[in-house]
């Protein structure tokens, strides 16, 4: 089992969700987050006072998938989230030891 954490542009979220749905992935956890990598923020001016806003809004998706699905999911995210500009985000993969469905205490991949 692998966990995919993808931090993407908020504007690409709907198409990423659709792309994942197309390859049969329906479960995900989505959080609205703020952060920045190489992308610079923007400045806001209120009555002459300038503020640099460097933490920008992003969307973070978390999915835990069976190993054989991971590559297709990563491809789908890459294709649908890319705009080609700085600030498109990142994908992190990590191994997951165990998954447990709370309702019936199923374990392993069948719990996903």
């Amino acid at each position: 089992m692998m966990k995919i954490e993808a931090i993407i542009q908020p504007s690409r979220f709907e198409s990423v969700k659709d792309a994942l749905l197309e390859i049969g992935i329906e479960g995900m956890t989505v959080t609205e987050v703020r952060g920045h990598g190489r992308q610079k923020g923007h400045t806001e001016v209120y009555r002459g006072r300038e503020y640099t806003v460097d933490l920008l809004p992003k969307v973070k998706l978390e999915l835990v998938l069976a190993d054989q699905l991971v590559n297709r999911a990563v491809d789908a995210i890459l294709k649908s989230a890319k705009t080609g500009k700085i600030g498109d985000g990142k994908i992190f993969l990590s191994r997951v030891e165990e998954a447990i469905r709370i309702r019936n205490e199923e374990r392993g991949e069948s719990a996903l």
């Binding site: 209120y46 002459g48 006072r49 503020y51």
Partner: protein
């Protein structure tokens, strides 16, 4: 029979002549005209004289009803400027953790000044004819009823005049909270507002608007200061006091390093639009009648606000490359401030000029001037009201026209454009007195408040936010 017809015709002509006369003059001066005219023709029988008197009373009553309707609406409009207008305008510019505290200050002033007004306030502003301050003859509103007070507004019940003036006394101290925002104690604010109203507002209002022969322009003052709706009485006093408060209180924790952007410009935007509408009651209502002068002041107010919004935005566009919503609404408010003393004295073209100048000048005040001196006037109460009120009062001396308001008598030049440049000097005297009174009065009051209730909240409370630390509640419980 034929003679009867002639009499009837002449009476009718008289009445028709008298109606426009009555509409232009206050009833006190108009009333002797008709009886003497009827008495001079001995053929007019008693019944006709009575009928004429009845008609005259009805005309007076009709005018009073019309004026009273407008003045009651105006009073309500001016109250709307404080709550919700100013409360929203200020509330949106503070940080989320202080939104209730700043709104509560405006609201507390609404209640507090109302009570003070009934006790002594109205009497101190409009009682008696001392040069500097009123007296206690109308304390507890003694003798204030349905009969007009001929000194000030001869066609409306004095109750209406009293409650209309109260709304001005409410918004003035509320304006100062813009400078003390996000760091002043609630107890300190309440005490400050009480003292400030008695020590600064009451004398200034009496000097400029009260019967006292010092600054009053319409009742023959020594230095007749033209202040139609409160450029000196309301905006210079509150703006200058705001500057003193900002200097005395010191900067907010983290200012200017830590970003303190407005938490909701949507609230500020709504508040500014309410202010703009309410200002029609403030300025056009200051005609104290539903007449042509009210219309003129209404138009000047609107034009001044529009030109100032454009002035501020143009300046901003040149400097920052774009026009902002906060800039546009700040500009409009600056224009409304500047046109306040001038509203009933200038034509629409002068109003456009005054507004445009005020928009650019106040933009410079809040961006450059404030940055140079580094004081923390959190919501720019001085930059907008103090600066806008001062420049507006001086420009009133330049732009006032006898054609708009012959306040010094028919045909007598009023302002500089009429050729009476000495009026600019009179305006300067009025403005200086407002500055000095506000400076000295506010420093003394701040000292008193400092040693009694204290002025500033603790640093811990300031960081936590005043909503929780002072009032035990939050403006937004979005998750509940």
């Amino acid at each position: 029979m034929k003679r009867m017809g002639i009499v009837c015709c002449s009476v009718l002509t008289l009445v028709l002549l008298a109606v426009p006369l009555l509409a232009q003059q206050s009833p006190a001066t108009a009333s002797p005209v008709t009886p003497s005219a009827s008495a001079s023709s001995p053929e007019v029988p008693q019944a006709v004289t009575e009928k004429l008197n009845q008609l005259e009373q009805k005309v007076t009553a009709a005018q009073s009803s019309a004026d009273n309707a407008w003045m009651l609406v105006s009073a309500a409009l001016v109250l709307m400027m404080t709550g919700p207008g100013l409360a929203l305008f200020y509330g949106g510019v503070v940080r989320q953790k202080n939104v209730l505290a700043i709104m509560m200050e405006s609201f507390a002033v609404m209640a507090l000044i109302t009570v003070l007004w009934a006790l002594v306030g109205y009497s101190l502003c409009f009682g008696g004819d001392g040069p500097f301050i009123g007296n206690f003859h109308m304390a507890l509103l003694r003798g204030v009823g349905a009969l007009p007070n001929a000194d000030y507004a001869g066609t409306i019940p004095q109750t209406t005049f009293m409650v209309y003036q109260l709304m001005f006394a409410i918004i003035t101290p509320a304006l100062i909270t813009g400078a003390t925002a996000e760091r002043m104690k609630f107890s300190g604010t309440v005490l400050f507002m009480t003292l400030w109203f008695l020590v600064v507002y009451a004398p200034m209002a009496h000097m400029v608007w009260g019967k006292g022969r010092f600054l009053n322009a319409s009742l023959g003052g020594r230095f007749p200061t033209l202040d139609f709706a409160g450029g000196t009485v309301v905006h210079v006093t509150s703006g200058v006091s705001a500057l003193v408060c900002a200097l005395y209180l010191g900067k907010r924790v983290g200012y200017p390093k830590q970003p303190m952007p407005p938490h909701s410009l949507v609230l500020s935007f709504t508040g500014a639009c309410l202010l703009w509408v309410g200002w029609f009651g403030f300025n056009a209502g200051s005609a104290l009648a539903s007449n042509g002068l009210a219309s003129s002041a209404f138009v000047a107010t609107h034009f001044g606000a529009a030109a100032a919004a454009i002035g501020w935005c143009v300046a901003e566009w040149f400097k920052n490359g774009r026009a902002s919503a906060l800039g546009a609404i700040s500009g409009a408010v600056a224009g409304l401030v500047a046109i306040t003393p001038a509203a009933g004295f200038v034509g629409p073209r002068s109003a456009l000029a005054i507004g445009f100048i005020a928009g650019i000048f106040c933009f410079w005040m809040v961006t450059k001037f404030k940055a140079i001196f580094g004081y923390d006037d959190a919501l720019d109460a001085f930059g907008v009201h103090g600066a806008g009120g001062t420049i507006g009062a001086l420009l009133t001396g330049v732009c006032a026209r006898v054609a708009v308001n012959p306040i010094f008598g028919d045909g007598k030049a009023v302002g500089g454009l009429d050729g009476h440049w000495g009026q600019v000097g009179n305006q300067l005297v009025g403005v200086l007195i407002a500055w000095v009174l506000a400076l000295v009065g506010t420093i003394i009051i701040l000292k008193v408040v400092d040693v009694t209730t204290g002025l500033r909240v603790t640093e811990e409370h300031e960081v936590q936010g005043l909503d929780i630390s002072l009032h035990g509640e939050e403006g937004y419980n979005l998750e509940s």
